[in-house]
Amino acid sequence: MVAVDITPSRPLGVEIGTAKLKAAIPSGWDAKQFEYNFKEIVPPRLQQISSRNEWFDNGDLIQKSEMYSLPQTALNWKASIILALMLTLLGIAVLFVFGRKANV
């Protein structure tokens, strides 16, 4: 005997779809017995919880808000370099002026 392992696979880029399948119930059973009115058969307290779940499922926690705040996107490294360069030059100037006086 040979066992063949077939792993179901979904091609990249294809979304997962949902489809309703026909209920497979044992022969002789009445399909009608599975149909019930949610409001009649489920206790009110359970209904409340389940409706809360519905709210939770529907609310897309990440995407619901249509406002995105954008981060700070400026490094300003050029300005920093110029400022630091000016500090260095000032330091050199100070050394030049006061260092020379001593030689005279």
């Binding site: 990249l12 981060p71 700070q72 490094l75 260092g99």
Partner: protein, 194 residues
């Protein structure tokens, strides 16, 4: 008498200045070197098909790559827009991770390093994007906009769930930080599976 004080002051200023120059010039150096390293790490993570960090100590993951064929530019996308992450590359603002999840893909980066190329983009230009699912999507720029506040409202712009949005600080050549943001909106035109 005051000479010593002034010489000390002068030396202090020079040291401070040199330190400042070193610190500031580290930013673009980090951006350039980091991008090369990220590129290699991203290719590896695509091959191994796992969500991975570029290096062990990183607190962000690589979630995609942005390519601008016209400018021959590619940028690895990180899942964070923290200061640390944006120092290395561009980040995704609405962090969902996979391109198949709902909502537009909003990316942000520094105007004076990774996102500098945005100043050269025009309506009609093509942008390619690959997220962790390995699907190459092509987008075409449909809108350029400047906002007064660092916020993006998807209601008043033409952004839908299939859009790609690039953002950076505005104006480009300013030396101060501002509240304005430059926004480039692109719409999906083609999806190809490699």
């Amino acid at each position: 008498m005051y000479r010593k004080i002034f010489i000390t002051l002068g030396c202090g200023l020079i040291i401070l200045g040199l330190f400042g120059i070193a610190k500031a010039s580290l930013m673009p150096i980090k951006a350039i070197i980091g991008q090369h390293y990220l590129e290699v790490a991203w290719k590896d993570s695509l091959k191994s098909n796992t969500l991975s960090k570029p290096w062990k100590s990183a607190d962000f993951y690589m979630v995609g790559e942005l390519i601008v064929p016209k400018l021959k530019i590619s940028r690895v996308i990180l899942n964070s827009v923290s200061g640390e992450a944006l120092a290395w590359s561009i980040g995704r603002v609405n962090n969902v991770g996979y391109s198949s999840s709902r909502g537009p893909i909003i990316l942000a980066g520094h105007r004076d390093s990774h996102m500098q190329f945005m100043s050269k983009l025009n309506i009609g230009d093509k942008i390619e994007l690959m997220m962790t699912d390995g699907v190459l999507k092509t987008y075409e720029i449909s809108q350029l906009e400047v906002t007064d506040r660092p916020e993006l409202k998807t209601s008043y712009t033409s952004i839908n769930d299939e859009s790609l949005v690039l953002t950076t600080c505005w104006p480009f050549n300013a030396s101060r930080s501002s509240q304005q943001r430059y926004i480039v909106v692109a719409q999906s035109i083609n999806v190809s599976i490699l």
